[in-house]
């Protein structure tokens, strides 16, 4: 990826930016879906119960910590793979 010339790099970083935006929207909608299906099960009222609200906020918080932790390990594994030439 480092053999791109400056103009290519510029274009590439625009592509990456668009991808990041898309990825963020995808993250958002998948988090809504996840926490909705894991936390909301009671349809006797249209109001969310306090239990459901509490669950949703913990679900979101936990998911962000989850992806952060995976991100750290992922980074470590990638570095390791690069140092060992593709071997674990």
């Amino acid at each position: 990826m480092d053999q791109l010339n400056p103009r290519e790099q510029q274009e590439f970083s625009q592509i990456v930016e668009r991808k990041q935006m898309k990825d963020f929207m995808r993250l958002y909608s998948s988090l809504v879906e996840r926490c909705f299906s894991d936390c909301v099960n009671d349809f006797t009222s249209e109001r969310m119960t306090s239990k459901e609200t509490d669950c949703v906020s913990k679900c979101s918080e936990k998911f962000l910590k989850h992806s952060e932790r995976i991100g750290q390990r992922f980074q470590e594994m990638n570095t390791k793979l690069m140092q060992n030439g593709g071997k674990l």
Binding site: M1, Q3, L4, N5, P6, R7, E8, E11, F12, Q14, I15, V16, K19, D23, R34, D38, C39, C55, S57, K58, C59, E61, K62, F63, K65, H66, S67, R69, I70, G71, R73, F74, M77, N78, L81, K87, L88
Partner: protein, 93 residues
């Protein structure tokens, strides 16, 4: 100014834009992002036990660490197997 440099004149100083080079760089980050997203999905299913707490429990965290490692191991293993399958098929021709 042309959109994304398409149809732009190749400039001397900064060099011309090679579409295929940009595309392969794009494929590279797509592949990495795809792997990452699959990891998130799989390891969440395997390790997250509930939402009593907003923090990861010790057990969940440990599970996630191992999950990532094992996912990479499976990735490598399947890669090896597919490669040898491919070679066999090639030899049987």
């Amino acid at each position: 100014m042309s959109f994304l440099g398409l149809g732009g004149k190749p400039s001397g100083a900064a060099g011309a834009i090679s579409r295929s080079k940009i595309e392969s760089a794009e494929t590279e980050i797509d592949t990495v992002a795809d792997l990452f997203n699959r990891l998130i999905e799989s390891c969440h299913k395997k390790c997250i036990q509930g939402y009593q707490e907003g923090d990861l429990s010790k057990q969940e965290g440990l599970c996630l660490d191992r999950c990532v490692y094992k996912y990479f191991e499976v990735n490598a293993k399947v890669g090896e197997l597919m490669q040898s399958m491919g070679q066999q098929q090639f030899q049987n021709r």
